[in-house]
Amino acid sequence: MNAVLSSLIILAISGLLALSFNRFAKLSNFIGALGVVIASILGLGSIFVVYKTNNSSLNIPWLVPYGTFSIEIDFLSTLFLFPIFIVSALAAVYGFDYLKHYFGKKNIGRAWLFFNLLVASMVLVVISRNAILFLLAWEAMSISSFFLVLFEGEKKNVGRVGLLYLIATHIGTLFLIAMFVLLSKNNGSFDFSLWQITASGFLPSIIFICALIGFGTKAGFMPLHIWLPEAHPAAPSHVSAVMSGVMIKTGIYGLIRIITFLGIPCAWWGYLLIAIGIISGVLGILFALAQHDLKRLLAYSSIENIGIITIGIGMGVLGMSINNPVLTVIGFTGGLLHLINHSLLKGLLFLGAGAVLQGAGTREIDALGGLFRKMPLTGFCFLIGAASICGLPPFNGFISEFIIYFASFKSLFGSAAIALISMIIIASLALIGALAVACFSKAFGIIFLGQPRSVYCQQAHEPGIFMRISMVILASASVLIGLCFPFVVGFIGKIISEITGKPISTIEMPLLNLVNPLIYIVVGVLLLYIVILLLILLRRIILRKVEIKPVLTWDCGYMYPNSRMQYTASSFIQPVVDFFKGILNTKKHVVKITEYFPDSSYFKTETADLFSETVFRPMFKFLRQMTEKLTWLQHGKLQFYILYILFTLIALFIWKL
C-alpha cells in the first residue's frame, strides 16, 4: 500500500518538476519520464506484495463532504494495475525519445505534467473505494487526457476533436454521477465497502444501465465510441498507446466493479453485454479495415478488442445469473486475459505507429511502403503485434481468444438458448478473426512491404534507442506470454472469486478444464517453433552452395515495374468494403475516364463513422435547434443572471421547507 501511495506522490512531484523546469526542455523531459518509470517499478512491486499477502486497504477521513480517502488494492485492482504500470512506463521511456522531436516547438513540461497526472489518476481510479474519490480521479483522468489530445492543438481539426472528446466523456460522467447517487442513497454511504444491493425490482437494472452508458462511453462500446477514433489518433503516439492500451480499460474495470455490488445479475444483462460485444467487435474491425490513417485504424481496432473483451465479460455475467460455473469462470477468464493482452498489444502497435509517423513523417497508409528495409526492427515488432492482435498462434492474442471460443464450445451442449448464443459468439469471433487478418495484413503489408509509394519513405529511419527498447520489450512480452498462460490461470481464479463472491474452491473446478488444453497449446506452439527451425535448417543445408539471383519482380514480361503499379491499401480491401457497403457507406471520389487518351485522374475513398453520421449528428442538430429557442434567457445582462440565481435559491428553500 505504501508503495502505491509513494508511486502516486512521485508521479505528482515529477510532473510538477517537469513543468517547473519547462525552460530546459531536456531536463524537463528527463524528469517527467524518469518519474513515471520509478513510480511504475514501485507500483509493480506493490502488486507482488498483494499477491503474497492478500488485500491491503487504507482509510483516511477527509474534509470533502461525503468523501473519505479510502483506497484498497484487491486482486481485481491488481489485474488492472499491472497493464497500467507496464504500458505507462514503457510509453514514458518511448516518450522520452519521441518528444525530443518537439523540443523548442512545444511545451514539454506541460506534456509530462498531464501524462504523469493521467497515469496517477488511472491508478487512483482502480484503487479508490469511495464514490467521491472515484469521481475525482475519473475526472482528473478525463481532463489530463483531454489536454494531451490537444498537444498539437494548432493542427487542423484537433481542437474540434478535443471538444468532441470532452463532451463525450462528460456525458459519460453524468451517468456515473447518477449511478453513484442511486447506489449511495440505497446504502446510506459513499464508501464502496458498505455497498451491497439485495433489493430486487428495477433498481439494480437501472444502476446497471447507468454504469453501462457511463463506463461504456469511456471503454468505447458501439455506438458510444464516436470520440475514440477521433481522439486517440490526435494525441502523441505514446499517449495514444496509454489511452488505447489502458485508459479505455478503466471503463471495463468500472463496469465489473459495479456488477460486484449488484448481487446476482439478471440474465438479460449478460445477453446485452454479449450483444454489445458482438456489435462493437464486428463493426469495429470493419471500420478499422476501411481506414487509410494508421492510427485511426488502430483506434477502431481497439473498439473491436473491447468488443471481444465484453463478449467474455458478458458470458461471465450470464453464467453468474443462470448459475453455470463453466460459463462464468471461463468467460471471465477469457475476457480478463484478453484485456491484459490487448493492453500490451495495442501499446506495441501504437508505439510502432509512432515510430512510422516520426520516421517517415506521415501516417497515411497509401503514402508508405517498403519501410521494412529502412526500419527492420520496428517492422518486426509491428509484425508480431499485428499477428497477435489477429489472434494468430503462437502469440498471446491467440490464447485469450481461444479461451473465449473454448467457453462457447463448452456451452454448446446445454439448453437451446445457451447453445444458440454460443453459436452466435463462435460465428462472430470467426468473422472478427478473418476480418482482422484482412485488416492487419493490409496495415503491415502496405506500410512495410513492397516498394516505397512516395517520397516520404526515402528519409525513413529507425527511431531512437529508447523508442526501440520499449517496442522490443512489448513484442517479447507478446511472445513469452503466449507460452506461460497455463501458469497464471490460478491467479485469475482468485480474481473471479472476488467478482462472483463464490469461494475459490468452486472456481477451481471449471478452471481445471482449461488448464489441460492450454498446456497442449503450449506444446503445439513449441512444436511449431521447432518445425520452423527445422525447415530453416533444411533450407540452409540445401541452399548452401546455390547462388541466389536478384531480379525484378515478375510483371508479365513488362520491364521495370514501378511503385505506382502496386496494389494500394484501398485496392487491397476494396472487395470486402464493397461487400459491406450497406454498413460502411464508403464514399468514392473519382474522376471518370472518358477520353481515349485520358488526362490526369484520381480516385479516393473515405469512410465516415456510421453512428456519428446517422445517429449523433442528427441528434445534436435537433438538440441545437431546440436549445436555440431558449437563447432569450441568455441575453448577457448580468443583473438578470443574478436574479436567476436568487430565484433558484428561493425555490430550493421553499422546496426544503
Partner: protein, 303 residues
Amino acid sequence: MYTKILQLVLILILSPFLFGVINKTKAFFAGRKGSPLLQLYYDLFKLLGKGVVYSTTTTWIFIAGPIVGLSALTVAALLIPFAGYSAVISFDGDVIFFIYLLGLARFFTVLAALDTGSSFEGMGASREVQFAVFAEPALFLSLATLARVTGQVSLSGIFSKAVITSWAEYGPLIYLIFGAIFIVFLTENSRIPVDDPNTHLELTMIHEVMVLDHGGFDLAYIFYGAAIKFWLLGTLLMGIFLGTSSYGWGQDCIIFILGMILLAVVVGVVESVFARFRLLKIPHFLIIALALAVVALILTMRP
C-alpha cells in the same frame, strides 16, 4: 502412440499423391493420357534441388512465408484424426487451434505475396483475405454444429468411429454440414469453381498468383503445404462420410485412404465438368456454405 505417429507419417507421405489422382481424373475427362500419378513427388524433388531467384523488392518475409506456412500446416496435421482414430495431439478445443493454424499459414502467405510489390500478387492476396471472411465462419459453424451433435469438442472426438455411426441417424443435418464443409474445402484448396489451379492468366487467379514470384526451393514448400492442406480439410469431409463401423485399425486405414482417393477423384470430376465462377459470384457461393451450416445448426435445436 506408435500407430498415431504412423498415421502422421502416412499423412505426410500420402498427401501429394492425391494431386496426381486429381490430374489423372481430369486427363481422363479430357481424353488425355495425363501426367504420372506421382508427378508431384517428382516436382518436389526437382524443385528442392533447384536454385532460387529473389526480387530485389523482397525482404525476409518473402522467404518466411513458405516456411511458416508449411510449419503451421504440419502442426495442424498433428491435430487431425486419421480414419477415425485419435490424432497425435488431441485436446478439448483443438478445433480452434486447428483453424487458427490454417489462419496463420494464410496470414504469412498473404504477407509474402505483398512483399513482392507486384499488383498481381496484391490482387491474389486481396481475394484470399476476402474469401476467408466468409469461409472461416462457415467452417467454424459447421464444426461447432458437429460438436453439439456428437457431444465432443476435440477433432479426434468429433470424428472418432464411435460417434458418427450412420448418416441415417443424423438425417439431413449431416448432408447440410457435408455440403458446407465441401464448399469451404474447395475454396481453401483453391479448386474449381472458386479458383483454377491450372490457369496461366494472372488476372484470374487467387492462390497461384500469390505465389507467382516464388520459385525453386520455396515453391517446393508451398506445393507440399498445399498438398497437406488438401488432406487435412479432406479428412473433415471423409471423417463424416466414412463414419461407419470399425474393421480394425489396418483395414480402417486402407478404407480411409481409398476414401481420400475417392475424394480426389470427385474433385477431379468437379474440375472437369464445372466452369469457374465469376469472381464476384464467389462470395455468394461461400454464403451458401454459411447458410447450410446455419440451417444444420437450427436442426440441432430440436428438443
